[in-house]
Subunit: 368 residues, 4 copies
């Protein structure tokens, strides 16, 4: 690339080559999919981080820039197979964006070697291995690591994340949904029964693959529900909401596939608890997220668009108290690849490492 | 146009010019918007109908073919202002696709002159003028016609429509939602409390107009809720569901704007009534819609895509009994401009005139 | 399906079951892709045709309605493997939508048995087997059939098609491009050197398959050129334009991939021939396509949109004489799956069988 | 906004409020459209710049954050009417994104007061006032400023821009097209006759406004040419290419409207000059753009996608020598709002101010 020879910004060429003194060395395992690519995009802006290794079985020997022209700055980096012993020496913090189940072993290996780990799979999100096995149809065999894992939703567990060595990065739907429900539920303003989470996600949430059902002509101008009543993010949402409510609860969670690249919008229906008809929901939510750098509560009756947060780590929340029905309707939006995955992973890394929490996550969204 | 001079199909050129003996003469009032254009598209295929007049204040003097290249077959027809006295002589059946409130006067005029009317506005859908005034912020002044109007959902009121002289064509969201809920509610299989209707519509539902909020760059790659808790289709859904349940009920209805041209998908959450845990929902829905030419119930666990029905008058319904939560989740899809508006209007006309109900509504959807 | 039991239109259920007396029996070989599905969609409307067999190796045993919910009317028909001896008894006319090269054998078999054939592959479009071999990298081994094949562009070869037993249905890009260039070239109004064809196609042109490069997130919000200088439609365009000009000529043909489902727009640059600066191009094109049912020439300075013809067999042509540069710029649009494939195939069948040419091809496009 | 109260990054809140010592004060005139918003998005990342004023007649009194939720960081800034005397005191450098003609007066005022100006309108791009008047139908009345304006394409005029006080920021189509043609033309490898520029732009190029023709349902699933032979970017392209070729030349330039938010792809056809059949185009282009931070030449036969550069200031160039026809085909892509407008404006500011040229323009594109 011509830009490499001279005149290119030092930062770009330096990012992918030698090890810079004073920077945190990080590896991204499973870096050929959309989530991994998004991690690389965000880390490119991070002044305190150097990506020293990327893995991909299928694309070993190629560069991120070969797979994604957008990642041209990483032309000096080469995918390698996930050889744990080799990798463990190359980095101090590991991001894992591996398929579910595959993550268990790798995470516990790096973790046992004293490395910090942010796992973007579902393997360490569910505290109860029996629940994991029930929904993921495979036993959990890394119970020791599981016991120390912290659920990486900073708005709920910032203190724990700061001290964590293993963070289970939340799912995209749970992030949007839990942030939308938590304040009302915590305050007891809504009932724990009859919670409905009707969620819609952009197509990048399905990952990068050759799949006829995900081909352009099938998705474009279409819209459908999927995984109705059986989606694996259900127990994750229930676990966190149950913890907040301090009582076991269940939710109806229905995901839908949107014909857009990015974005999740979650529409939630909560029954106002007796005696809370006059609760000031606006005040309640504002207070809950006061000082939060990435969560914004909109004025009553205003609702967010997924386009408002595209490419950013932000979560916008709108709400309406429907007095006719006694329902609190909450709508939250995030970018499924950022706050719903890689951006939140970087936020967690920032917390774990004592970096400023918003580092490399401050850019504004494209408009349009 | 070259095709008009010779060789063009007789049907095309004949449709828009002289009056053909033996054909029903119909006028389309408010024919310059998407709903009116869709009526013209469908009526073009109708062997027993001749469109003799189209009205538009803004586009008077121009032809439907000028506004829509797709309507090239109507180049011989010219929009005229809505002069009721002139129009009343031109047709035997009137479709009105006028803005709400504007429809009241025109409908009652044509109706009083013994003409058949299918009104696509909301003006004659709500039986109770007080409810109309509350939601539409204007009094109802055509009470006589209102008293005779039949709600034009053939799956519920086929018998009445056949005898009707004034049919109030249902709204797009109500059509999808009522068809999805009716069988379970009628059978008493679900409760009348806590009904949630989370609906998503393509952008054509907003009509054809110059509006920055509807411009391509604002809608594309976006998704948002709107009219939360206050959308005017709410009382229409409630009226019909209350009638079915034989008790007043309320619903939480939340519409969303999809970045597609056409299609409505409605996701509905219904609480299984005590004692109905074992009801065979599949059987119940199949029986309810047996013989219906435009409604299809999918096998349990299968869910429809709006793309499956684009350009057609069909309604597809999928469902899932979520035993973990005691909820019946129903998903229905229609094309908002066809079964949600103009196609259903033609279906109603067919019923009113004794034509075969499916006439000009039998084409298959484009795939893709 | 409930609609089958009673009340459904006879035509729908009849189409896919028993053999109707007096109807032409047709088979569609390779009916699981978009082109085959589009054939089924169009033939569903055809009053003189009965589809008696559909083939697909991959989907044998399933129904078109299983693969495409849009084709619900074909639930009674089952894909079978392409067993030529079995098939030859089932139909009188064969549409073949097979991959290139695979078509040669099947076409010549059915053809040799006295069946009429419309081949939608490229195998019988190029008259010169050497040119075929050069561009398709495989020899042509069905020379006898090739010798009798007629290039199925009715606007150029209507007379020959009427008498043909084997029609080679044109490619999508060639259809749009040849129709746009033919009148000017034939009249000698433009030079044969320096012809540029810059064409853009919707994604359905790539067929239905699992291919990462065609996945939604790769195509959406994107646009790119492909096959620059090497696309196989080049020799087809050159063959027909050379025949029109009566001299060998070459073109620069560049296809691009549009993020839409359907449509081809071809922008063509032709150098005005000396002495033709004052030629009335409008008159020339109007005369060339006078009486053509599917081609429309727009007034000077007006240009068509692919959306105007979606789902129809029409070709719209706009043009501009750029006096500053001495260039005639022509823009033509078609639906790549209709006039660019299956619609034109039905048009050819209509001509071959003596049916009215426009039968089942008269519907108006959806707007929007 | 909760994020403002505490914990928010200092940079965000500081950007839009008080004047920071040591930062360049800039004003954005006409900051309510997409181009202005894009400037604000990019400047938000700029460590050496402070936006001290934004103007908009229509939105005076509101904040950029009111119009664009994406610009939340600018909630402390308020649009004001363009009062030149008031404004001139507020900033040292002025970006003007005003409508054509309106820019003339404002630019010459700020310029005459010793301020640096980057004008994003077309008013100072054409050197010859007669050409300006011919294409823009209005006389040029700021001839003094016009005489000193530098055409702001850094790859051609970097040296001049560094010393300029008034930079005329190039149009989006000209940027993509000139960068694609310049190397071959400068080297004399292609002829100056018969140049074809077939360009396609995303819809944001049309600006933010209420316009039925730009509404979602009109643009989506559509594609069309516009301004054929008469688009105002034609003389701009011709001026620059003529200067490069050192002889007056003309081009056929045809723009098209793409159903995407952002991106321009320009496909260019150039006739290989006699004796240049063996010229190494790859080497020629590589050398021409050696060291350029934002231009990348792809290997022969590879072609760029607009999606590769979305949100970035990059220009990717692919090419193919078509030996069959003697044509060099070049394809270039940019983001019309970045390298085609606001990003290039910031690049120009960086050069004028002696900042590092790539400052705030180094982020990678979103994928997908």
């Amino acid at each position: 690339m011509a830009t490499k020879k001279k005149g290119g910004p030092a930062k770009i060429s330096g990012k992918s080559s030698g090890k810079l003194p004073g920077k945190l060395k990080v590896a991204v395992c499973g870096a050929s999919g959309y989530t991994g690519a998004e991690l690389l995009r965000i880390l490119h802006k991070h002044p305190k981080v150097e990506v020293t290794a990327v893995t991909s079985e299928r694309s070993a020997g190629r560069s991120p820039a070969d797979l994604y022209p957008q990642l041209h700055a990483y032309s000096g980096l080469t995918y390698e197979p996930l050889d744990r012993k080799k990798l463990v020496k190359k980095a101090d913090l590991f991001f894992l964006a591996l398929p579910h189940a595959a993550s268990q072993e790798a995470v516990s290996f790096f973790h046992s070697k004293g490395k910090k780990v942010v796992d973007l799979s579902a393997d360490f999100r569910l505290k109860d291995p029996a629940v994991y096995e029930k929904w993921y149809k495979t036993p959990h065999t890394a119970l020791k690591s599981l016991g120390t894992a912290v659920y990486g939703l900073p708005e709920l567990y910032r203190k724990e994340i700061k001290k964590a060595t293993l963070v289970a990065n939340p799912g995209c739907y749970p992030t949007a949904s839990i942030l939308g429900i938590a304040p009302a539920l915590k305050a007891g303003a809504v009932e724990t029964m009859g919670i409905v989470v009707d969620a819609k996600s952009g197509t990048s949430g399905a990952g990068r693959k050759a799949d006829q059902a995900l081909s352009y002509c099938e998705v474009n101008e279409g819209f459908k529900a999927y995984g109705v009543g059986v989606h694996r993010h259900t127990p994750e949402i229930e676990q966190e909401l149950s913890a907040i409510a301090d009582t076991p609860l269940r939710v109806d969670f229905t995901p839908h596939l949107l014909p857009v690249d990015r974005g999740i919008l979650s529409t939630m229906y909560l029954r106002i608890a007796p005696g809370h008809g006059n609760t000031d929901i606006s005040e309640l939510y504002a207070r809950a997220y006061e000082g939060e750098p990435f969560v914004k509560v909109l004025p009553p009756g205003e609702f967010p668009n997924i386009k408002d947060v595209r490419g950013t780590n932000r979560c916008l929340i709108g709400f309406k108290v429907n007095e006719r029905t006694g329902t609190l309707i909450v709508v939250s939006v995030i970018d499924n690849l950022v706050k719903g995955a890689s951006g939140q992973a970087v936020q967690n890394m920032n917390l774990m490492m004592g970096f400023r929490e918003t580092t490399s996550l401050e850019d504004l969204a494209l408009c349009p």
